[in-house]
Amino acid sequence: MNIGIIGAGQAACTLIAELVRGQFAGKILVFNGESHRPYQRPPLSKTWLHNPTDTESIRLLPEPIETHASIEWIHDKVVSIEPDQGVITTNNARRTVDHIVLATGTRAKTLAIDGLPADQVHVIRTLSDAIHLHEALDAAHNIVIIGAGFLAFELASSLDHPERTIRVLAKGVRALPQISVKAADRLLEETPASIRVGVTIERYDQDSASLITNHGPVPADLVIVAIGARPNTELASACGLGTSEGIPTDALMQTTHPRVSAIGEVSLHTQPHLNKVMRIESISEANDSASTLAKRLLGAPEPFKATPWFWSDQGQLKLQIAGLAARNDDETCLINTQTERVVIRHNSDHVTAIEAVNAAKEFMAARRLFEQGPISRQALLQAGSVFSLLQSSRS
């Protein structure tokens, strides 16, 4: 069986690595729509951004896998697929495979701001974006980051410099709405950025080099838009396999067409952890969905059952999250010391996530506990720490 993988990001590369290690018998065609060889995305917004010419250190595939004889790399964007025939078309080629894998990921949402020249607006999704941003930094003294998620604050820490003022402007009522107030507060204590919430941007004024907002003018010679991402579903939607929300799949990463699968953050499937159909943007989702598909293609299918996890570096602070909470889930602080903060997210007694700031042991213990089954908030509070609860569950 020959397969064609569209996209060469995290999910595609995990699938490739597992197929090669599992001695997959067929040929693997990979369509890489970017101009760089596969690389890791998380470093792009972290300390790596200080020197984005070092592309070797963020390489995603080991040499023997990248150059494995079963793989053919096609450096081209796919423009259409024909599931019934297994045809994949680029502007330069038309190839036929037995199975198509959509691993197209997402792209950064953009924002049109009246009066702002395109060369002053940046997003950060690809290696090219990071290089482009880095090149513009010398001339930038007033940086505005629009958006208040992980990416915005990772960038604020990475771009911190005595000659730069960094301002984060958010539309919503608070920064880092994805996590609890208590965990967010800890991370925000150390951000070099000044933060304004409830901001709407009206236009850009060239003469004063400022964004005109409902809170007045904000000086900006460089603007980074970090307001989230949108799934790349066009190829799938053109043949009825995708929606604007993502590409629906079953627990084996199979779309509604038997010849097409979808993996990574473009895939929309039931997350057993929350028993909810959703799309998750994280490395864990990319890896776990790719592993699920690899097992199926290698003839030993096992339904997707992973619990999501996530991390984010904000300067010297490390946030690690096991599980996944809905935005309105409750929060209870479990540990709060000089260095560590651990917050339980829950829905009455049912724990949905553990958010750990500089508390790696608690994070790992939470991952292990979630693997064993549901976690009770009451049991956690009684044990005093996630680690203690894990130990008592094992004794």
């Binding site: 896998i65 991390w311 790696a360 042991k361 994070f363």
Partner: protein
Amino acid sequence: MPQLTCIDPNEQAIEVAFEPGETILQATYRAGVDGILAECGGGCSCATCHVMLTSDWDGTLDAASPQEADMLSFAVDPTPQSRLACQVQLNEQHDGLTLTVAKRQY
């Protein structure tokens, strides 16, 4: 280029060239040493880059950070010689040394 000897989980010895300044993970991953998964790509968040250093490394490295030590306590069968490959930066002193990749990463 300086080199390390890596013993992979199949007990194969593999010579891995490295640039001073890169991490064990960067060097071994590029070379494709078996058994290092590095799910988080060096983010110190997965503990699937577990390696064991020989005593020849003693005195050439700073102790593991609290974060690394915490992650290591969740690796499979950690020993006092265990480290996370993504957290150890290599220098000229490490030329010719040996490490063993953990048999299982989870």
